[in-house]
């Protein structure tokens, strides 16, 4: 199968959302902003991803699967931008639109794992699960999540720290709160309490949100 160009992916995305989240199976050319005879439409049709008539377009079964992937990538991209890279506002959507096209299969699942298999995008829309999500649930593979989302007794290794100032980063580092450090969560209220080695540290939510941990199962 040929690589879909960006515009085609956008159309698939729009059709998938319309069908699966708005209960509208077909979308008119006008809404899509393309003409029936445009290159995108005809090549989508040629690949068997869409069916069409004179006014509107709808997804084939394969098109639906493909569309789901595109939506998944877009929403994962948004999560990545918000959670890890710390982007906000309009930037999220615009950058995610570009980024989604680079998250090919394989990379997409790695991003999903890094983010801890999130269920929703920052806007609250559902992220369609990928293969990695199901595997993880069964095998109990690695997750990377902020310390703040760990539960009592969970163990992990710090992977990275982001979202706090360099000065604060440095003070955490000098106390031994650094990537590579193994932690175990001892309390999550009123603040976060965790152990590193034979020491215990208390941090607030801001710090707990900034410290990303790969969960380790016993």
């Amino acid at each position: 199968m040929t690589e879909l160009i960006e515009k085609q992916e956008e159309i698939l995305e729009q059709l998938w959302i319309s069908k699966n989240e708005k209960n509208k199976n077909s979308v008119t050319y006008e809404v899509l902003g393309v003409s029936k005879h445009s290159e995108e439409i005809s090549s989508l049709q040629k690949e068997g991803l869409i069916n069409l008539d004179d006014e509107k377009v709808w997804l084939t079964e394969e098109g639906d699967r493909k569309g789901e992937k595109v939506v998944r990538r877009h929403r994962l991209a948004e999560r990545l931008l918000v959670d890890v890279i710390d982007v906000s506002g309009k930037e999220i959507h615009d950058t995610a639109c570009k980024l989604e096209h680079y998250l090919k299969e394989g990379i997409e699942d790695k991003v999903c794992t890094l983010l801890g298999h999130p269920k929703t995008c920052p806007h609250g829309n559902k992220i369609p699960p990928g293969a990695c999500c199901n595997v993880d649930v069964k095998v109990g593979d690695k997750y990377v999540v902020p310390l703040s989302s760990l539960k009592f007794g969970q163990k992990g290794k710090i992977v990275f720290i982001s979202g706090i100032s360099d000065k604060n980063l440095q003070s955490l580092a000098s106390m031994g709160i650094l990537p590579g450090a193994k932690i175990v969560v001892k309390q999550t209220f009123p603040s976060y309490l965790f152990g590193i080695g034979n020491s215990e540290f208390a941090v607030d939510k801001t710090v707990a949100d900034a410290v990303y941990v790969r969960i380790e199962k016993d």
Binding site: S174, A202, D204
Partner: protein, 651 residues
Amino acid sequence: MHNKIKVLLVGNPNVGKSALFNALTGKYVAVSNYPGTTVEFTQGEVQYKGNSIEIIDTPGMYSMLPISEEEKVARNLILQGNPDWIVNVVDAKNLERMLPLTFQLIETGIPVILVLNMMDEAKRMGLEIDCEKLSQILGLPVIKTVSIKKIGVKDILNLIINAPYTYKPNSIKYDNEIEQEIEKLINFIKGDYKISKRLLSILLLQKDEEISDLVKVNENEDIIDVANTSRRKLEEVFRVSLDYMIALKRQLVAGEIVQKIFKKVAKEKESKVVSFISAITIHRIWGYPILFLVLYFGLYKFVGQFGAGTLVDFIETNIFEEWLLSGLTNLIEEGIKNDNIKELLIRDYGVITLGLKYAIAIILPIVTTFFLFFSILEDSGYLPRLAFLLDRVFKKIGLTGKAVIPLVLGFGCDTMATMVTRTLNTKKERVIATILLSLAVPCSAQLGVMLAVLSTSSTLLAIWVFILVLIFFIVGYFSKYFIRGEKTIFFVEIPPVRIPKLSNIIIKTYTRLVWYFKEVLPLFIYASLLIWVGRITGIFDLLLKIIAYPLQFIGLPYESAKVFLFGFFRRDYGAAGLYDLHKQGVFNNNQLLILSVMLTLFLPCIAQFIMTVKERGLKMGISIALFVTVFSILTGYLLHLIINVFLGISL
């Protein structure tokens, strides 16, 4: 005769430096279980086998790139103090976390001895350390100690006097790219410094301002630019901050070393009681009732009722009045003819009758009981637990859990507490904490007297507490928005619960009392002298009239002006005055409440004002004093309106 050997004790907070200092010198220094209670350093001397050794205990530091005020003090002692030796004290059971500082101390080029302290605790946890191997890897002498039991202490002294230092410490190697830039800077440095060019270069790369200023004097000015270019270059390569890269590398090497030298042996059973206390004092639910009980029994029962009630009564009536004062009064009445001198010494406002009496009979027992209480909190490791429990609440008023230290200490002495605010992370926190200390945190003397005065009616006491708590949070809440500054984060190490040692508690309380009295007693005497001068010249009565005039609008009697005038010297002096007047039955309950609230809020004592100016600057100091005065008067007026005019009740 040998020259004096100068030794610095350096290490993370809470590793037993101070205990080691005590063991080495036999002198006392506060052994605390909370980072941030010692901002100054302590110096002692020991004679050992004909050598004179000067030992300096530095505040806890985590790295050579200082962040907190304590770390700055510690680093300056290393950079400027000309030490012959650095004794790097580490907590043996947390060696991995502490080695990064050891690496940095090695980088200074000053001879380092690594002291693995708290070996008993490590052993209990089932850790054995291969000292010889560690010594070999680091190229340092390594000594095991249990400093509170003085085990291994002589080994350190023996090593120090048996110089020369024949060890060749192994410096850590960073990534090649970093090493190249370090090399470049080393070649650039021409001057002579007390620490190695390597460490200077690393700190220059890390953009350390003090070091930049230091080298600017002797070096080609370009050096700063060269360092900055190098830093930018490296950060482009690694895509993270250089400090972070370096910290990571140090931690990585520490981890590798620890792998090689740790042997796990069977764990001894942890004391069930201690681990239970450790857990329950920070429990999400039980932590709070315990916090309440600690404050209730510690502050209210022990300091308030026992210290300010029982002890004050006993000392004041039995010792001071019956025994000391009656004898002295007779002696002076008969021996001295001059009325003015009698007045100066023994009349109503005399140095002995007022100054000494307040200081010794009223303030001393209260402050002593408070410092006993605080020392127990400190040594048991409860303070950081308190910080953990209260962080969420304190965030609402623009502070973090860390602020519990100065704020709780404020219940002992606001002046001391104002000094300790410098351990807070940001300027905003320091300002807010200073305001709250000036306004709504009564010091122990004041608290004790207020509790004693108001204890006649539990309603009065409850209202007084309620109003103060309310003001504390309202003012804190608004300060959060009005005082600009960066947002702050909270992180603190929670040490294990330790059973305080009685001897430590007593000596620590004693040293604090000495500090307190050096500051307080002269002020009390000066106050008496000033009042005496004021009285014989008539200024005192004039001032009373001036102060009493606005007070009548708040429904307060003429005598209350005295309390405010005294309170200007020290709040506790004023409070003690209130106590005296109250015993004479001058006030009704309404007046008593209004006066108590106003006096608690009122202008800080001169010492605290001076401390505020010293710590926060003249402008801020005056602003805070003005704010506090106006706020106090307005609150008094408002209370008067509510109680006397609007509600028209008598409490």
